[in-house]
Structures are given as structure tokens and as C-alpha cells.
């Protein structure tokens, strides 16, 4: 496999050398003039040739042109365009540039570059970027700006319900999203069981959600990539920002290490309700702990023109309990090295570590040698990932690289002590290695035709030490192991390999419209085992094994992109079809925690999802925002469930309509409004009741799953941001954010379930469960200086 990739690479590179003799390259970095942050996806455009490139994830660009003199324009959304004349005569040119943020985002005459129609021109489809400044203006639950809650307003993104962990993209499960924080995967993206995401908005620079047309450099999850990039920290001067909200108090500090050469940022958040509650708690509650916090830090240093290093880390934890304690959290650390081999060859190498773990303990305050329960679980992974970009010429951008990930799983181990006698229960640790290599090219063919094609090969080894079980063949019920084999350390238990082809095309239709089409296959070797409505912090990531096959997805998407009124309005319509293989489901009454034979409780099947997404966005002006509508269906077919027929997934929503509107009244005051509507999620209800030992029990005569729907969901949120007139400490800025969540006080159902009546056990009733049953106002104060 490597040989094939290598051969392809050699072909590409040799074409490049043959063709590039009389051409020269301009390359460099594009940064923000105010704080030195790299600008990702800024456009570098040569109007006379009608050719251009965009900066990569580190702000680097490279464009190869015939000898000559060019006017080159550098532009970036809501930044002032810069033009430079470049003479390409004898040598390659290195050109670093800083762009200034336009003084007023709402200025209507900000920029008029020809290339602000990037959404139409670029090869990317099924990609949504949300500007952090937009996220910060949107009304937020309890005033806490939240990346993951915000992306749920994008087309194709849903959730199982309010307050649930994670998100679902185009019919994919929560575990099918690769959530990356500076390239390290985050295994549980939530605080407080799902109410808030782990990303500190003060430290986030850029958020990109890739739902389809996924380039070859990404792999490991079958539905989407959420690529969150952290700020690098102000490399010009010291800056501080923070705020006090309803839930969190926040502080972020950033400062140059050496001006324009390196900087760092440290951002911390902590919930403080426990601090406020402390004086009111007495007795046993006095020692209770309930808080969550996170710490995000990043440093970068430009060693010389060709080498830059970045270090980033995240540490977050939720802590609850008094005697009985429960805490969980993620840790990620990544180190990156950008190296420019030549004006055309860019390398980023990332090494990362990521960990998710939780712990429950019954005797936290005072160890009890007689009766106790102490349980812990974790998943750790270590990875190295070189990614090369070769700017062959202005028409071909080749990317290639690889990744190796070493996983250790501790799915759950507990020490149970009863009457002084100790038992160790749970599962043995598990180990796996995932390798991947990829090669891709983005190729422009003529003015109106761009292709992106690539291939990724992933190889997965499930290795010892460990036990591999073989289970009986029956489905729909618990299977007991029929044989067990023990493997030594490093010994291969099973291996899977998958070719993952990727393809996208952009066909330009005149000035401001294009048709895009894409196909991608993705493979996933990790599975989050979760049999509850919303994923919980206790859910365990489990490796592909001799019993669990890798998940696979194939997705095709077709889109029409068109901009109106000089790119004031961006619109798109996309349709997609996704098929999923080897999807995991569960037998009734499955036992997924601390169960060494849990694989016997799993069921397997297929999934499919299809839909149409309509999106219109107003990019500029006093009033801006977007409206999206998604018509979709997502279903599963699992042997042993629903009489083996297809059934809608838990998060299937036929219609979803989202509106986000931001109105900038003036420089000081802005208002925003969200509206969301979604068809009720599917539910299973009984047909009959039967009385057993006085209990009225439900029974579904047809053994159907998800045959009903709970009431539709809709909600309006409002926010107002008022900047203070007075400067803080001379130069700083303070602002008040007033927000109202669930404006018209609707009791949206998270679920509807049935139970026997409290008063009369032989009678039954249906209950609507609402996570938020009322209007939720909040006030937040933010500052920066």
C-alpha cells in the first residue's frame, strides 16, 4: 500500500519539476495586524490571471506563477483588503503580510475583492465555518458562549435533545464526529452531562465543521470533522480578556514571548455555583463538591523563517459528590512543528496525546476498608501525524502524509469491597494501533473546473495482551462466549485495512455560482458504547475487535452554490446520501459497564441517511445572519431489533429550520435572535398494558421501535450586547450581555415516556420530560484590555 502511494507521489512531483522551469513562487504567511494571529483560509488572488490560493491552517500560502509583475490581493472576511505589487523575475519571493480588521464589521463598503465568493469558488462543500465573533454574538444558554451549541444551528446538524452531549451530523451518531482541538481528538466534548462544551470561547480562533467531501488528510470517524483551532496568543502586546457569567467565570491572558516571534495564551474557566452556595449549605452538604473547570494553553515560537513550533494543551474536569464522588474529564496535549522545506513544500508534524477518564468512588471523604466501591475508566491515545503540502504549481496542490495512533483502553475496572473482602471486577485493558497514509491533489482544470481527489489507506491492529472471546451466532439476545483465547503482549488479535477514496469537483457556472459534487468513504475503528437517550460521561469507547467490525460510511453529495447582490447573500442547496455499515446497537437490557463479555450484548447492522439542506446567509450589513432548512431522514436496520426492519434513529428529525439574526445597531449595541424548529424525535410507545404483581407494565404488541414522534421542538432566544462607553484601564473594553433562552417559555419535550400512575399503580400515563421547562434569562459581563 505504501509503495503505491509512494509511486503516485513520485509521479506528481516529477510532473511538477517538468512543468515548473520557467515559473517562480510567491509564498509566506498572512496574519492579523492587531495580534499576530495567523489567518486561516485567507485569499491570495491574482486578478490578471484569475488565479488564487487560500492560506492553510497555519496561515501559510504558496502560489507559483510565470515570470512577470503582478498585482496581488490579500483578503479575508471582515478584514481590509491589501494589494501588493510583486515582481517575479529572477527568484522566488517571500511575502508575509498582515491584514487589518475593518473598523466596523457592519461597514457596508468594507471590501470589494473579487474573491469574497470563496464559498462558491472553493472546492469545499458540506463545510460550515462559523466565525467566533458570530458565535459570541449569538444568544447562548445561560449566557455561556458555546461552540457546540452554536453549530447545532447549521444545516445537517441535530442533537438527540436539549442538554445532550455532542451533536449528530447528517444522520451520524455522536461518536462518529472527529472533534479536534488543535488536532488532538477530544473524546467527550461536554461539561455537566452535555450542557456546555469543553471549548473555552476566549481561546478558540476558528471552528470548521466538515460534513461531506472530506479530504484525504482526515480520517478515523465516519460522519464529520469538527476542527477547532485555538488562538496562538497575541504576539504584539499583552492582552487579557474574561468575563463573569451565570455559570462560568473566565480569564484569558495572552502575551508575546518575543514580539512577532512567539506568544502564548492561557485561558481558564471555572463554574462557581458551589462557591456561591457554600454559605447556604450545612451538615453533610457542606463538603459536597460540584464544579467543573477547564484550562486551555498554547504557545508558539517562530524559530526562523522556515520553522515554527506550537505547543497546546487542554485540561478539563467535572467534579461532583460528597462521600460518593464522580469526576470526569479530558486532557489533550499537542506539539506541532511547521517546517517550510522550500517555497513549495510545507510540512506540519503533530504529535499528540489525548485522554478521557472518569472515576467513581463511594468512600471519598473517609476511606472505608469494610464497604466501598472504587471505579475508574479511561481511553488514552498517542499519535504522530506528518502532513505535507506540496504547492506543485498554481493549478495543483498536493497533500500527503500519514498518521499512527496507539490506543490504550481501560474500559472500566472497579474495586468492590463488601464486609472487608475485596473483589476486582470489570474489563481487562485493551490495546490497538491505527496507521494511515494518504495522498491527495487539488487540481484546477481551466477557469471553472476544480477537482480534489485523494486516497487514504487505514490499517488497524487489535493487539494483546488480552483475551479475545468468540460468541454464539444467535442475534437479538445476550450471547455467551463459547471460547476464549489469550494473547501475549503485542501479539496481533485481528487486523482490518480499508481503502478510503475521496473525491470532490467544483464546476463554475458563471460569476457567482457553481455546482459541486463529492464522494467520500470513511472508516472508523472506535465505538462509543451508549445505550441511553443521551450519551453519558460513563459511556465507554471500545476498540474494533474480532467481534466488532470497523464502521464504514460512503457519502455522496451534490450542491448548488450561488451568491447574490455582489456576494451580500450566499446561498446553497445540498443533497446527500450516506450509507453506514457495521453500526453498533444493543440488546434489550444490555450491560455495557464493567462487563467483560459486553460484546455479547451488542447487535450490528446498517444505517442510511439522506436529505436536502438549504442555506442562505447574509454576510454583511447591519443585519446579518443565516436561515437554514434541512429535510432529512436517518434510519438503522439492526438484526434482532424492530423485526429486522429499518427504523428511524433516535435523532431523526424530518424538518429542521434554523434562523440566526444579528443586528448591529451601532458600534456599541447589537441584538441577536435565534429561532429553531425541529420535528419531534422518534419514540417507542406501548400498545398494551399488562398487570403483573400489581405493576402496570407496558408492552408493544408489534415489537416496533421508534414508531411514534414526540411533539415538535421550537424555541426563540434573544440577546443584547451593550459595550460600555467608558474605557477600562484607559484602553480596555467592557460589555454586558443580556440573554433570554426559550423566550416564549415553551416546555419542549426532550422525551415522552410512559409510567404507571403514582397514585394508582394499575393506571398508566404518558409523561413529557422537558430539560428546560421555563424561560431562562442571564446576564454576563465580559472585558478585554
Amino acid at each position: 500500500m505504501y509503495k503505491l502511494l509512494l509511486a503516485l507521489l513520485v509521479v506528481f512531483v516529477s510532473i511538477g519539476h517538468a512543468a515548473a522551469q520557467d515559473k517562480l513562487t510567491i509564498s509566506g504567511y498572512v496574519k492579523d495586524a492587531k495580534n499576530g494571529e495567523a489567518l486561516l483560509g485567507a485569499t491570495v488572488f491574482v486578478p490578471t490571471l484569475g488565479e488564487g490560493v487560500t492560506t492553510n491552517d497555519y496561515g501559510f500560502y504558496s502560489i507559483t506563477l510565470p515570470r512577470g509583475t503582478y498585482d496581488i490581493s490579500f483578503s479575508y472576511v471582515s478584514y481590509l483588503e491589501e494589494k501588493r505589487q510583486v515582481k517575479l523575475e529572477n527568484a522566488n519571493v517571500k511575502l508575509d503580510l498582515e491584514l487589518k480588521e475593518s473598523a466596523l464589521v457592519l461597514e457596508t463598503v468594507t471590501i470589494s475583492s473579487e474573491r469574497v465568493d470563496a464559498n462558491v469558488r472553493s472546492i469545499e462543500m458540506s463545510v460550515n465555518k462559523v466565525d467566533m465573533r458570530t458565535i459570541q454574538k449569538m444568544p447562548a444558554l445561560l449566557g455561556e458562549v458555546d461552540v457546540i451549541r452554536s453549530i447545532q444551528f447549521l444545516p445537517g446538524v441535530t442533537t438527540v435533545g436539549e442538554g445532550a452531549t455532542g451533536f449528530n451530523v447528517r444522520g451520524g451518531n455522536v461518536d462518529q464526529n472527529l472533534v479536534l482541538l488543535d488536532e488532538a481528538p477530544v473524546f467527550n466534548s461536554s461539561h455537566l452531562f452535555g450542557f456546555f462544551s469543553v471549548f473555552n470561547p476566549d481561546a478558540v480562533k476558528d471552528v470548521k465543521l466538515i460534513k461531506g467531501g472530506i479530504p484525504a488528510e482526515y480520517g478515523g470517524r465516519v460522519s464529520s470533522i469538527l476542527d477547532v483551532r485555538m488562538k496562538e496568543g497575541n504576539s504584539k502586546k499583552f492582552a487579557a480578556s474574561g468575563g463573569i457569567g451565570t455559570i462560568f467565570s473566565r480569564l484569558a491572558l495572552e502575551t508575546p514571548i518575543i514580539k512577532d516571534k512567539g506568544s502564548f495564551i492561557v485561558a481558564a474557566r471555572r463554574s462557581y455555583i458551589d462557591v456561591l452556595a457554600k454559605p447556604f449549605l450545612s451538615g453533610d452538604l457542606k463538603d459536597s463538591r460540584f464544579y467543573f473547570y477547564d484550562l486551555t494553553a498554547k504557545a508558539n515560537y517562530q524559530i526562523d523563517d522556515k520553522n515554527t513550533v506550537f505547543l497546546s494543551g487542554y485540561f478539563g474536569r467535572d467534579v461532583f459528590g460528597a462521600d460518593f464522588g464522580f469526576d470526569w474529564g479530558n486532557t489533550t496535549a499537542s506539539a506541532r512543528w511547521n517546517h517550510i522545506f522550500s517555497d513549495k513544500l510545507f510540512l506540519n508534524t503533530t504529535a499528540f496525546f489525548s485522554n478521557y477518564d472518569y472515576r467513581l468512588q463511594s468512600d471519598l471523604r473517609e476511606p472505608n476498608p469494610q464497604d466501598a466501591f472504587r471505579w475508574n475508566s479511561n481511553i488514552k491515545n498517542y499519535s504522530v501525524k506528518p502532513d505535507f503540502t506540496y504547492y506543485l504549481n498554481s493549478r495543483n496542490k498536493i497533500s500527503f502524509g500519514g498518521q499512527m495512533i496507539y490506543y490504550t483502553f481501560q474500559p472500566g475496572k472497579a474495586e468492590a469491597i463488601s464486609g472487608g473482602e475485596t473483589r476486582i471486577i470489570g474489563q481487562d485493558s485493551k490495546y490497538a494501533i491505527e496507521y494511515a497514509a494518504y495522498l491527495g491533489n487539488e487540481q484546477k482544470l481551466g477557469k471553472n473546473f476544480t477537482l480534489q481527489y485523494g486516497i487514504r489507506y487505514s490499517l488497524y491492529d487489535y493487539i494483546g495482551p488480552g483475551k479475545a472471546y468468540t460468541y454464539g451466532p444467535q442475534t437479538g439476545e445476550r450471547r455467551e462466549p463459547i471460547s476464549t483465547q489469550t494473547y501475549k503482549k503485542g501479539e496481533r488479535i485481528t487486523r482490518y485495512g480499508n481503502w478510503e477514496p475521496r473525491f470532490s469537483a467544483n464546476i463554475g457556472l458563471g460569476d457567482a455560482s457553481s455546482i459541486k459534487v463529492s464522494y467520500n468513504r470513511m472508516a472508523q475503528y472506535l465505538h462509543l458504547l451508549s445505550n441511553t437517550a443521551a450519551a453519558s460521561p460513563l459511556d465507554v469507547w471500545t476498540p474494533t475487535s474480532n467481534n466488532i467490525k470497523p464502521q464504514l460510511s460512503d457519502q455522496i453529495a451534490l450542491g448548488l452554490f450561488k451568491n447574490f447582490k455582489d456576494n451580500l447573500f450566499e446561498t446553497s442547496v445540498e443533497v446527500y446520501y450516506k450509507s453506514l455499515q457495521n453500526q453498533v446497537d444493543y440488546i434489550p437490557n444490555s450491560d455495557l459497564l464493567l462487563n467483560p463479555e459486553l460484546e455479547g450484548d451488542l447487535l450490528f447492522g446498517d444505517g442510511r441517511a439522506y436529505g436536502a439542506e438549504f442555506f442562505i446567509k447574509k454576510t454583511k450589513g447591519k443585519l446579518n445572519g443565516w436561515l437554514s432548512y434541512t429535510l432529512s431522514r436517518t434510519e438503522r436496520q439492526i438484526k434482532g431489533l424492530n423485526n429486522n426492519d429499518w427504523f428511524p434513529s433516535r435523532f431523526d428529525k424530518t424538518h429542521v429550520l434554523n434562523f440566526v439574526g444579528i443586528y448591529d445597531l451601532n458600534q456599541r449595541v447589537s441584538f441577536s435572535l435565534n429561532f429553531t424548529y425541529g420535528t419531534g424525535t422518534p419514540a417507542t410507545f406501548p400498545t398494551s398494558k399488562f398487570i403483573w404483581q400489581g405493576y402496570a407494565l407496558p408492552h408493544n404488541f408489534y415489537a416496533q421501535r421508534n414508531g411514534y414522534r414526540i411533539p415538535d421542538y421550537h424555541r426563540v432566544d434573544l440577546a443584547a450586547i451593550v459595550k460600555q462607553k467608558k474605557k477600562l484601564f484607559g484602553t480596555g473594553e467592557g460589555e454586558w450581555v443580556f440573554s433570554i433562552y426559550n423566550l416564549y417559555n415553551r416546555r419542549n419535550a426532550f422525551s415522552v415516556y410512559v409510567r404507571q400512575s403514582e397514585d394508582n399503580p394499575s393506571q398508566t400515563e404518558a409523561v413529557r420530560y422537558s430539560v428546560f421547562g421555563s424561560i431562562i434569562p442571564a446576564v454576563t459581563y465580559n472585558f478585554k484590555f
Binding site: L192, G283, S418, P686, H699, P761
Partner: protein
């Protein structure tokens, strides 16, 4: 797991927003099925097997008895124990002929035979061993936050029993306060060896602490009568009880997908497609009782 839900609700109470309300719901009705509720014990007292019919889920009417059936329990020695519907209300009863007479013997298998209309059904169950309940103790408890519909202050009772060595013993703990069974679905406590599940590896252990505490689904007052029964149950009954509990209390953010509670009662004729609901199990019972006396309470253990 319940602890975690508790924390969750605790937080939501702090946020003061989560709510549940009863709503109207219309669902399709299924065909009417026979329900057999046959839980027989080795106690020397009248044993009842209830036969009824399923109703549409939201039907407000009372239980619909299934009358005119033939109900017989056979021992493995082929001795028939007929159950008779004395009051013609679907309650089929067997009574000991003389005091001390028992229907069941530990270690033996029993078969249930039911004929209703033209359909015949059967099931087999075995009486497993049950350990004695060694003791009860109690201490004064006061919860910092008043639990919904439960007492905040009173005596919390633990029972002590030890699982005999040998994997797979299952039990049902039943607690009574002043002769009233704690009968909420969430108070059903099934035990596997000395713990909650087969993976608990609690074989041969003193019942673990949370199970000992299931003698107290609610607190007791001084002079309240406490009675705890321990039923030995077959393994399949353990899973049945787990499902009864989870399917009747299956709400909230971490609810599982509703599923049908399987039965262990089969049609005698394999070709008969008319399935019944319910369960047949035989249990040996050990029990203990006392009256709460404040002066005998033990000091409150740490962490309780």
C-alpha cells in the same frame, strides 16, 4: 447508576428548570393477550396465580380477569397442584391442606400448565437455595435535602445476608414497613450473587452495601415494624425483574430505548402463534422482622 441520576437531578434542581408533566397521548392498540402472573413460594400459605388480559395501554378500566382457565403446577415427581379460581375473579388459588404444608421444595423443578380457551401454555422453573437473613440494624438518618415523596428523617435499616459460594444465585429483596410492601417499580431490588449484576463478581460475599440498604427504600419511624424477605429466584427471573424495573421507570435524559419484557411461558403447541405475557417463577423465602427501637440504633456509619 442511580447515584449518577441523583446528582444530575440535584443539579437540575439547582438550575430549577427541568420538569415533567403528564400529557395525553394516543397510541395504537395491539391484540388482546393472556397475562399469567405466577410467582409461587415455598411458604406454607395460600399461593395465587393471577390470569388477566392485556388492555390498551391508556385504558382507564380495571384489570380484566381471565376466567375459566385450568391452572396446574406439577412437581418434578409429577404431583399436580391444581389452582382454582374460587371467587371467579381470575385469581387461581392453591391452599395448604394442613398447616405447614408446602407446595415447593428447594432444589426441585416445577412446571406450570395453563389452559385458557383452546390454548395451552407451560413453563418450567426451579426452586433455588436461599441464605438466611442474619440480622437487621439501623441508625438515625437525616438527609440534607428532602427526597421527593419520601421521609427526610428517620431510621435507615440495613439487612445482612451472605451469598453462598457458587456462581449465579439470584434473589429478590422485598421490604415491608408496617406490613406494607414497598411496591414502587423503582423499589424492586434484584440481586445477582451478592451484587447488582453477573459482572459484579460478588459470589460468596456479604451482600454489598447498597443491597443491604434496600431494606430501607424509605426511612422508618421508631416503633415501625420492619420486615425483609429474600426470595431465591432463577437467573431468568433476575433479568425479568431488572426489565420490570427499568421499563417502568424509564424516563429522563439517560433513558434506554423501551423494550418488551420477555416471558418464560410458552405455548405447548409450538405452532401456536398466540403468545402470552407474564412470568412463572418459584422461590424459596427467608425473612426477618423487627420493630424499630431507637435505643438499639447503631451510630451513623461514616459516609451514609
Amino acid at each position: 447508576m442511580k447515584n449518577i441520576q441523583w446528582f444530575y437531578f440535584f443539579l437540575l434542581i439547582l438550575m430549577g428548570t427541568a420538569c415533567q408533566d403528564v400529557i395525553d397521548l394516543e397510541t395504537e392498540a395491539g391484540e388482546t393477550q393472556l397475562v399469567i402472573d405466577a410467582w409461587v413460594t415455598d411458604e406454607s400459605k395460600a399461593q395465587t396465580i393471577k390470569l388477566s388480559l392485556t388492555q390498551p395501554y391508556f385504558d382507564k378500566g380495571g384489570i380484566v380477569p381471565a376466567k375459566g382457565a385450568t391452572v396446574i403446577v406439577f412437581s418434578e415427581d409429577s404431583i399436580p397442584y391444581p389452582f382454582v379460581d374460587l371467587k371467579n375473579d381470575g385469581n387461581y388459588v392453591w391452599k395448604p391442606k394442613i398447616a405447614g404444608d408446602k407446595l415447593l421444595q428447594v432444589g426441585k423443578q416445577y412446571a406450570l400448565y395453563v389452559k385458557y380457551g383452546a390454548e395451552e401454555y407451560f413453563s418450567i422453573s426451579k426452586v433455588n437455595r436461599v441464605p438466611p437473613i442474619d440480622s437487621l440494624n439501623y441508625f438515625k438518618q437525616k438527609f440534607p435535602v428532602a427526597p421527593t415523596d419520601l421521609r427526610q428523617e428517620g431510621y435507615q435499616v440495613d439487612f445482612y445476608a451472605k451469598d453462598p459460594v457458587g456462581k449465579g444465585d439470584c434473589y429478590w429483596v422485598r421490604a415491608y414497613r408496617n406490613d406494607t410492601l414497598f411496591d414502587k417499580p423503582s423499589q424492586i431490588q434484584a440481586v445477582y450473587d451478592g451484587s447488582f449484576s453477573p459482572g459484579g463478581s460478588a459470589d460468596g460475599l456479604l451482600f454489598i452495601l447498597p443491597i443491604r440498604a434496600s431494606a430501607s427504600p424509605d426511612l422508618y419511624n421508631a416503633n415501625d415494624k420492619v420486615k425483609v424477605e429474600l426470595y431465591s429466584i432463577p437467573q431468568e427471573a433476575f433479568f425479568f425483574l431488572q426489565l420490570v424495573r427499568s421499563e417502568s421507570t424509564n424516563g429522563g435524559i439517560f433513558a434506554t430505548v423501551p423494550t418488551n419484557i420477555p416471558t418464560n411461558i410458552q405455548p405447548l403447541d409450538q405452532k401456536n402463534k398466540k403468545q402470552v405475557l407474564g412470568f412463572f417463577a418459584v422461590s424459596a423465602v427467608s425473612s426477618i422482622e423487627t420493630v424499630v427501637d431507637g435505643s438499639k440504633a447503631i451510630p451513623k456509619p461514616s459516609g451514609r
